[in-house]
């Protein structure tokens, strides 16, 4: 975690209201992993006070450039779009814990709902770099919100679902999962909470549907990795990246919690934003 100046290199609107901005910030580009985020300070000319937590969309250690992908939802993100190349932002990062990919996983299933693609985008790059096969399932309201495939690496298999059927599968992106759940070794998702909850339910019932034996030690028992540890998350089929309103983003203010299965609120900024699906108490409504 560091406070670093980040100079805007390029800013472009990839979809209506959605922007990708590149920043020169070598410390962030080389020190971050997929799933982590930066806390970006916007200008406080009109009383904006809080930083904006944004997923690191891509990071290129060679050029020292990271990108962020956001939708203009308010004055803070609106201010970001008016930033010009050469201007500098104050970023705190990299923050949070990354996706944990099991070294043995060959096939990764990534599920993104809308802007959730920003949460898993960097994992695509990391997986392809490590020689894994990646399928990206993308869900959006209509064709105009679909993430352009030109922004994805060629190696990726990309399937789209839209609510109105204007592109790809007509329906929810979670309905595409059935085609891939047997193929996938691990799954990673980012998007709206109902989508993640549906995926968590699918993941929980996956073993019975597929008739897969529980992998691991033959006689059971033995050492169990503590819930929430990187090792435990690596063994989990589904990891989700959550979003929540944030204050400090370093774990001090306890503003960004979700309810964990242990009954203890989990900080999205510190224990997350990536969680194993079984760590979250989805039905708690938190």
């Amino acid at each position: 975690m560091r406070l670093v100046p980040a100079e805007l290199v390029e800013s472009r609107q990839i979809l209506p209201g959605q922007w990708i901005q590149s920043f020169h910030a070598p410390a962030l580009a080389s020190g971050s992993r997929a799933g982590q985020f930066v806390h970006v300070r916007t200008g406080d000319y009109s009383g904006l006070l809080l930083r904006r937590p944004l997923s690191i969309n891509t990071a290129d250690p060679a050029t020292g450039v990271i990108t962020i992908h956001f939708r203009t939802v308010g004055r803070g993100t609106d201010w970001l779009t008016r930033l010009r190349p050469g201007e500098t932002l104050d970023m705190l990062g990299p923050l949070g814990r990354p996706f944990e990919v099991d070294p043995r996983s060959r096939h990764l299933l990534l599920v993104a709902g809308g802007l959730g693609i920003a949460g898993v985008r960097m994992l695509i790059d990391e997986a392809i770099r490590d020689g894994r096969q990646v399928v990206v399932l993308f869900g959006a309201a209509s064709a105009r919100d679909v993430y352009p495939s030109s922004l994805l690496p060629d190696e990726v298999e990309y399937a789209v679902a839209t609510d109105d059927g204007s592109l790809g599968h007509a329906g929810l992106v979670t309905e595409l999962v059935a085609d891939y759940e047997a193929w996938a070794d691990q799954a990673f998702a980012c998007g709206p909470k109902p989508m993640l909850a549906a995926l968590a339910t699918l993941a929980a019932g996956r073993r019975e549907r597929l008739g897969v034996a529980k992998l691991g030690r033959k006689r059971g028992g033995g050492r169990r990795d503590p819930v929430g540890s990187p090792a435990a998350r690596r063994k989990s089929f589904l990891q989700v990246a959550l979003e929540q309103n944030m204050g400090c983003a370093v774990g001090a203010c306890l503003g960004c919690v979700v309810m964990g299965v242990t009954g203890q609120p989990q900080r999205v900024c510190r224990e997350g934003p990536v969680f194993a699906a079984e760590e979250i108490a989805w039905e708690a409504g938190w």
Partner: protein, 384 residues
């Protein structure tokens, strides 16, 4: 799954976005746009480039005496400087450790701590508001025993005093927590949170009634010899009788103010935004209220007043000193700029040196009236 199939989004939509993009860029830079956004951008760019300010005050004069005692009656809470961090915004002191040199702070007020663990309120718990934020954490904390076990050994190693913020539902709760704090190495003082607006039971009820505030303060006073601060709520009609009662009950200092009660509405306008409906407003938006209360309180009590409320720059610190505060707590602004409190220490020293002062004490109370008089009484009638 042998062949890699790619479902390509229609080329039309991709090219459409490309053509749309260009005019948008041109719109921003074109001369049609009046000078206003440009001026905005320039002004906005300056806080982001805050590092330049830092380099200007890189060498604060060592000769200026910034030390302050918040418990002068017992001489027990000597701080190296009057810039503290407010409870709830700095966790237990370690969260910001990687980006802030905590040892340079005057003191740390830790997250509000209760006797039993509390899981707090359902999310969303925070939201931004004009020049401020609403929070409704609901005093989530692991309980006093867990806090002391986990953090007290660490606090003991620090040179910066740690003031434990204590909340409770009943006087017995407060007394029990404070008893467990008494004599623990690493605990420099106690700040009573009798004014949390975000919990159902307890909290606020002690802060809105002079008798109750005095009772809880006196009970805690009997239970501990630790320096005792009591944090006032702004959610009252007249704060002065409460401050007087707290002083009479034996508090060493008063901190003011806690957050103002408020709500926000969800984006779809179908319900209040916060999970707990009600939240506490903090940030620059509440500075005038905090100034008014510090102004009123410092005229009716002799114990030190620690000001809290919307401090984002040195000017705010000087304002609060001028209305009688001897020290300040920086809160919400830390979220935007974690290095702010430490920078304020340096800037205050530079400011004193610029005015040829060897201590910051002459800055205190310069805006107070000679004698407490009608202005602070007037207006009470039409305050909520």
């Amino acid at each position: 799954m042998k062949a890699k199939k790619r479902v390509v989004t229609s080329g039309a939509s991709a090219s459409a976005s490309r053509t749309r993009r260009r005019p948008t860029v041109r719109r921003v830079t074109s001369a049609i746009v009046p000078a206003r956004p440009v001026a905005k951008r320039e002004r906005a760019a300056s806080p982001a480039g805050g590092s330049t300010v830092e380099s200007v005050v890189a060498q604060p004069p060592a000769s200026v005496d910034l030390s302050v005692d918040l418990a002068p009656r017992r001489g027990g809470l000597r701080l190296a400087n009057p810039i503290l961090v407010a409870s709830g915004t700095f966790g237990y002191g370690i969260e910001y450790g990687e980006v802030v040199d905590v040892e340079r702070l005057g003191a740390i007020c830790c997250k509000g701590t209760t006797l039993k663990p509390r899981i707090g309120n359902p999310p969303p718990r925070v939201t931004e508001t004009p020049a401020g934020m609403l929070n409704s954490i609901g005093l989530q904390n692991p309980g006093i025993d867990a806090v002391l076990e986990k953090y007290a050994p660490l606090w003991q190693r620090w040179s910066v005093p740690v003031i434990v913020n204590v909340a409770g539902e009943s006087i017995a709760d407060y007394v029990e927590v404070v008893r467990r704090l008494d004599g623990v190495p690493g605990v420099a003082g106690v700040e009573l949170n009798i004014s949390c607006p975000n919990v159902g039971k307890g909290g606020l009820q002690f802060a809105i009634d002079a008798e109750a505030a005095g009772a809880v303060t006196a009970a805690v006073r009997r239970a501990t010899g630790l320096p005792l601060l009591v944090k006032l709520s702004p959610n009252v009609a007249d704060v002065r009788p409460i401050a007087r009662a707290i002083e009479a009950a034996g508090a060493d200092a008063i901190s003011a103010i806690n957050t103002l009660s408020g709500i926000a509405v969800a984006r779809d306008r179908t319900r209040p935004l916060l999970g707990n409906v009600f939240g506490g407003l903090s940030g620059p938006a509440i500075k005038p209220v905090a100034l008014r209360i510090v102004y009123e309180v410092s005229q009716v009590v002799d114990i030190p007043v620690v000001a809290i409320g919307g401090i984002v720059e040195l000017g705010d610190v000087l304002d609060f000193l001028a209305v009688g505060a001897v020290a300040v707590q920086v809160g919400t602004a830390i979220f935007a700029d974690p290095t702010l409190p430490v920078r304020l220490v340096d800037e205050l020293a530079v400011e004193c040196a610029r005015r040829d002062l060897d201590s910051y004490r002459p800055l205190i109370g310069t805006a107070l009236p000679r004698k407490p008089g009608p202005p602070s009484v007037k207006g009470v009638e039409y305050r909520p």
